[in-house]
C-alpha cells in the first residue's frame, strides 16, 4: 500500500483551546460553542505523535470550513427549538383562554423539559417556576405536584440536593393530600435521590422503601423496577452486597419482561459496578457489555448512559492493569461525549485518563486534570465536578511524589465541598490527607 502524503495546501486546523478563547462568553453564542466542540476533530498529524496519548479537547482542531458547512443545520435545529418553545407558550395561552389551568401548567412544563433536553438548565428553571406560580393558584393540586417534581429533578441534576429535597418534600405532602399515587411515588424517589446525594444512607433507604410500598400498592410497574434498582445501588454503597444483588435481580426481571431497554442498560451498569467491587471482574465486564447492547436497543439512544457504561468498563480494565483496552474504551467515551457535547461526561473521562497516566507514573498526565478543571470553569460550571477534579488531581500528584502540590489540590477540593455541604466527601478527603501526612 502506498503512503498518501497529507496535502500541504490544506489549512492547519485551529486548535479548540484557541477557538474557545476567541468566542465571547455570550448566552446567544452557546449553540455555536456546542457546534464548535462537536465539530472538532483530533489533528491527524498528532494521532501517532508523542503528544497523541495526551490529546484533550483543547488540542483538537476545528476547520472554519467545517463549521460553515454545518452552520445551516445548527441554525435550523436552534430555530426548531425556539419554535417548539413558542408553540408550547401558545398552547399555554390556548389553555388559559379555555380556563384550563392544568393545561397551562402542562404546556409551561413541556417548554421547560424542552430546554432541559438541550442542556439549558437556567432557562428550564424559569419555565418551571412560571408553571409553579400558575399551579399554586389552582384548586387541583396535581399540576403543582408535577411542577415541584420538575424543579426537584432539575435541582438534583445540578447537584443542588438540599433545594431538590425541599421541592420533593412539598410535592410529597401535596400528592398525599390529593391521593396522587404517581406524584407521591415520584416524590419519594426524588427524596431518596437527594438523601443519597448527601450520603444520608438511612434517609435514602427510608424514602425508597416508602416509594416502593406506594408503587406496589398502586401497581406502578416501571416505578417498582426503578425503586428496586435504586435500593440495589444503595445497598451496594452500604456494603450489603447480597441485598444489592437481590434487588437488582428482581428489578432486572421486571425490566427485561417489560422490554425496558434503557432501564435495563442502567441496571446492568449498576450491576457491573457491584460485581467489579466484589472482584468478579469477568462477570462485571459481561454486564457492562450487555448494558451497551441494551443501550443500543433502546428507542432513543442515551449517549450519556453509553458514556457512563464505557467509563465504568474502562475503570474495570484499569483496575485489571489492561491499560491498552482501558485507554481505547476511554477514547471511545471521549469521542461520544465530544460529539454529543456532554461536558460533564467529558470531565469524568479526563479524570480517568489522568488516573491511568498516574498508574503509569507518567508526569505528562497532568494535562488531563488541567483540561478537566478548565472545562469545569468555562463550560460546565459545576462546583461539584470541579471539587472532584481537584481531588483526583491531588491524588495523582501524591502518587507521583509531589506532596506539596497534591495537598494544595486536596485542600482546594475540601474547600469547595465545604461550600456545598458535602460532609461525606469532606470526610473522605480528610482521611486521605491524614493518610498522606502520616
Amino acid at each position: 500500500m502506498k503512503r498518501v502524503a497529507r496535502d500541504p495546501a490544506a489549512p492547519v486546523p485551529v486548535r479548540v483551546e484557541r477557538a474557545l478563547r476567541l468566542l465571547p462568553d455570550l448566552e446567544a453564542l452557546l449553540p455555536l460553542r456546542a457546534l464548535l466542540i462537536s465539530t472538532s476533530r483530533p489533528d491527524e498529524r498528532q494521532v501517532w505523535s508523542s503528544s497523541g496519548p495526551y490529546l484533550t479537547l483543547g488540542k483538537r482542531g476545528v476547520q472554519p470550513d467545517d463549521l460553515r458547512r454545518r452552520l445551516g443545520a445548527a441554525v435550523q435545529r436552534m430555530s426548531a427549538h425556539v419554535e417548539a418553545l413558542f408553540r408550547a407558550y401558545i398552547e399555554a395561552l390556548d389553555a388559559d383562554q379555555r380556563r384550563d389551568g392544568a393545561g397551562v401548567v402542562a404546556a409551561l412544563l413541556e417548554a421547560g423539559r424542552l430546554e432541559e433536553r438541550v442542556g439549558r438548565s437556567t432557562q428550564a428553571q424559569v419555565w418551571y417556576d412560571s408553571a409553579l406560580a400558575v399551579a399554586e393558584a389552582l384548586p387541583n393540586r396535581r399540576p403543582e405536584v408535577e411542577s415541584l417534581r420538575a424543579l426537584g429533578e432539575l435541582d438534583l441534576g445540578l447537584g443542588r440536593s438540599v433545594e431538590g429535597a425541599r421541592h420533593f418534600q412539598r410535592a410529597l405532602a401535596l400528592a398525599e393530600a390529593e391521593f396522587d399515587q404517581v406524584g407521591a411515588v415520584g416524590a419519594c424517589e426524588g427524596l431518596g435521590d437527594a438523601a443519597l446525594a448527601q450520603a444520608q444512607w438511612p434517609g435514602a433507604q427510608a424514602w425508597y422503601t416508602r416509594g416502593l410500598r406506594l408503587a406496589q400498592e398502586s401497581e406502578q410497574g416501571p416505578a417498582i423496577g426503578r425503586l428496586l434498582h435504586r435500593l440495589g445501588r444503595l445497598a451496594a454503597q452500604q456494603g450489603d452486597r447480597s441485598a444489592a444483588a437481590e434487588h437488582l435481580r428482581v428489578a432486572a426481571e421486571r425490566f427485561e419482561a417489560a422490554g425496558a431497554a434503557k432501564e435495563m442498560a442502567q441496571l446492568l451498569n449498576s450491576r457491573g459496578t457491584l460485581e467489579a467491587d466484589g472482584g468478579q471482574t469477568a462477570v462485571a465486564a459481561a454486564s457492562y457489555r450487555e448494558a451497551l447492547a441494551w443501550a443500543r436497543r433502546a428507542d432513543a439512544h442515551d449517549i450519556s448512559l453509553e458514556v457512563s457504561i464505557r467509563v465504568n468498563l474502562a475503570r474495570l480494565q484499569l483496575g485489571l492493569d489492561r491499560l491498552l483496552e482501558a485507554e481505547e474504551q476511554m477514547r471511545r467515551a471521549e469521542q461520544l461525549a465530544i460529539a454529543a457535547n456532554l461536558v460533564g461526561s467529558l470531565i469524568q473521562v479526563y479524570l480517568l485518563m489522568g488516573e491511568l497516566r498516574g498508574r503509569q507514573n507518567d508526569a505528562g498526565g497532568f494535562v488531563f486534570f488541567e483540561q478537566a478543571i478548565e472545562l469545569c470553569h468555562t463550560l460546565e460550571r459545576s462546583p461539584i465536578f470541579e471539587a472532584r477534579a481537584y481531588r483526583a488531581y491531588g491524588e495523582y500528584k501524591n502518587r507521583l511524589g509531589d506532596r506539596e502540590e497534591g495537598r494544595a489540590y486536596q485542600d482546594r477540593a475540601k474547600e469547595i465541598m465545604s461550600t456545598l455541604g458535602r460532609t461525606d466527601e469532606i470526610e473522605r478527603l480528610s482521611e486521605f490527607l491524614t493518610r498522606v501526612s502520616a
Binding site: M1, E17, S49, S50, A293, W294
Partner: protein, 450 residues
C-alpha cells in the same frame, strides 16, 4: 467445527430466513445459533466461544457495524464479523472493509455468498508459524533501540559522536520514529547520565500552561496557581531536558526558551528571583523547522541554538530488515507483561505487517503488537489477532484471493475515499489532489455514497 452466531439487530429477520440459513450452515458443516436481539447475542458471546458473528445491522448499517467492531473486542476468540445488508453502497463497502468486516453480504442472502464467506474463513486457518529472531537491543532496559538496518547504524554513529559532549541536539523525524528513545540514549551515554532525564511534550500541554510547566510558578501567580510548582528546567538540573515537539509553542515562549538556553537562567512565573539552570537541552520535532521559520512561526535564532547537532531519524518503511526484529522485540516485551506464551508469528500476519504503510512508524507497530499479543489465544500471532485496520488490508496483498476483480467505478471510489481520508474530508484539497473540479468530486461522493 466453525461456530456461527447470527444476530438480528432490528428484528426484521424473519423466521423462514433463519431456517434457510440454518440449513445452509448444516450443509457447510457449521454449528449455527440464532440470537434474536443484541442483548442475547452479547450474553452468548460472553458465555461461549464463537468463530463468526453474522450480523443483520438493519437500517443504520454503518453505525451498527462500528458498534459490532467495538463489541467484538471483548469477546472470546476474536470472532470474525460478517454482515448482511440490503443494497450496500460503495461507501458502506469501503467503511466495512476499514472496520475489518470479513464479508458484506447482500440481502436477500444467497446460498453461494454465504458458503463463499465461510470458505474464506476456513482458508484463513492455514497460516504457517514463523520463528521470531532474537532481537538485539543497542541500549538495554525499557528504552531499547532496536534495529540493524543501515539507516539505524547511521543513527547509532551520530549518537556515539554527540553523546559525550554537552552540545544541544535537535532530533528530527516523523511521528513514532523514536525521538525520545534517541534523546534518552544521548543522555545515558553522556556526561550528565547520573542526573535526571526530564521530558516535556510541548504539543500536549495547554498553551496557557506551557510557560509555567517549563519555568515553574509561584503560588497565586495566576488563577489556578494554587500551589508553587517547580518547572521542568529546574527539575532537570544537572541532567537532560528533552523538549519534544518544540515547533508547537508560541513565539513569545520561544523567546523565553532562547533566553534560558543562552543565558542558562530562568524566572518562575510570578517570581522575581533569577534561578541559574545547568541542563543539557535535547529538542525534537516532527515538523520542518525551516519551513516554520520561513512562515514566521519559529524563531531562526532559537533554531540555530538548538540545532548545534542535527540528527534525522528514518521512517520505519525505510529501515530495511528492522521490522521483524522490532516485532520480535515487542512480542517479547508484551508476552512478558501480559503473561502470554506468544513465540512466533504466522506468515500471513507478517506479510500484512510488511505491506502496511506505517504512518505512525515504530509507535504504531508497537501498538499493533501490544494489542495482538493481548488478544492472542495461542503461541502464534495470527491475522485474526491483528487490528481491524490491518486485517482490512488483506485484500490488497499480492497473491491473495480477491473477492472479485474490481470494476473501474469501485477502483475510483476506493481512490477517492483514500484521498478524502488524507485531506481530513476537505473536498477542495481532495479535488486538487485528484485533479478534478470540486463539483465533480461532490457528485462522485454522492454517487458512491462515500
Amino acid at each position: 467445527m466453525l461456530r456461527v452466531i447470527a444476530v438480528a439487530t432490528d428484528r426484521t429477520v424473519v423466521g423462514s430466513a433463519i431456517q434457510t440459513l440454518r440449513q445452509w450452515a448444516s450443509d457447510a458443516g457449521v454449528n449455527f445459533v440464532y440470537a434474536p436481539d443484541l442483548p442475547q447475542a452479547v450474553r452468548e458471546l460472553a458465555a461461549n466461544r464463537w468463530d463468526v458473528v453474522l450480523a443483520f445491522p438493519g437500517d443504520r448499517p454503518e453505525e451498527a457495524l462500528a458498534w459490532w467492531r467495538d463489541a467484538l473486542r471483548g469477546a472470546q476468540g476474536n470472532p470474525a464479523l460478517i454482515a448482511a445488508v440490503g443494497r450496500p453502497s460503495m461507501g458502506l463497502v469501503l467503511r466495512a472493509e476499514r472496520l475489518g468486516v470479513l464479508d458484506l453480504l447482500t440481502l436477500p442472502l444467497q446460498r453461494e455468498d454465504f458458503l463463499r464467506a465461510i470458505e474464506r474463513l476456513r482458508s484463513a486457518a492455514t497460516e504457517m508459524p514463523l520463528p521470531l529472531p532474537e532481537p538485539h537491543a543497542e541500549v538495554a532496559g525499557p528504552y531499547a533501540l532496536v534495529g540493524q538496518s543501515p539507516a539505524m547504524l547511521e543513527v547509532y554513529k551520530v549518537i556515539a559522536r554527540v553523546a559525550g559532549s554537552n552540545a544541544t541536539v535537535l532530533i528530527q523525524g516523523e511521528s513514532g520514529t523514536g525521538k525520545e528513545l534517541v534523546a534518552r540514549a544521548i543522555h545515558v551515554h553522556g556526561p550528565v547520565a547520573s542526573g535526571p532525564f526530564v521530558a516535556v511534550n510541548c504539543a500536549a500541554i495547554p498553551e496557557n500552561l506551557l510557560e509555567s510547566e517549563l519555568f515553574g510558578h509561584e503560588r497565586g501567580a495566576f488563577t489556578g496557581a494554587i500551589a508553587r510548582r517547580i518547572g521542568r528546567f529546574e527539575q532537570a538540573a544537572r541532567g537532560t531536558l528533552f523538549l519534544d515537539e518544540i515547533a508547537d509553542m508560541s513565539l513569545s515562549l520561544q523567546a523565553k526558551i532562547l533566553r534560558a538556553v543562552q543565558e542558562r537562567e530562568i524566572e518562575r512565573v510570578g517570581g522575581a528571583e533569577v534561578i541559574p539552570v545547568n541542563v543539557r537541552v535535547v529538542a525534537a520535532t516532527n515538523r520542518d523547522l525551516r519551513e516554520a521559520i520561513s512562515q514566521a512561526r519559529f524563531r531562526e535564532d532559537l533554531y540555530y541554538r538548538l540545532a548545534v547537532v542535527t540528527l534525522r531519524l528514518p521512517r520505519l518503511v525505510d529501515r530495511n530488515g528492522d521490522l521483524l526484529l522490532l516485532v520480535s522485540h515487542f512480542v517479547k516485551e508484551f508476552a512478558g507483561r501480559y503473561n502470554k506464551g506468544v513465540a512466533s508469528i504466522s506468515d500471513r500476519a507478517l506479510e500484512l505487517l510488511r505491506n502496511h504503510p506505517w504512518i505512525g512508524n515504530v509507535r504504531e507497530l508497537r501498538n499493533v503488537i501490544e494489542r495482538a499479543v493481548l488478544v492472542a489465544e495461542t503461541d502464534v500471532l495470527r491475522v485474526e489477532d491483528l487490528s481491524e485496520d490491518l486485517r482490512a488490508e488483506e485484500t490488497s496483498l499480492p497473491d491473495r484471493p480477491q473477492r472479485a476483480l474490481l470494476t473501474l467505478a469501485e477502483l475510483e471510489a476506493r481512490h477517492i475515499s483514500r484521498v478524502l481520508a488524507n485531506t481530513n474530508g476537505q473536498i477542495g484539497s481532495a479535488a486538487e489532489i485528484l485533479g478534478i473540479h470540486r463539483n465533480t468530486l461532490t457528485r462522485k461522493i454522492k454517487e458512491y455514497g462515500l
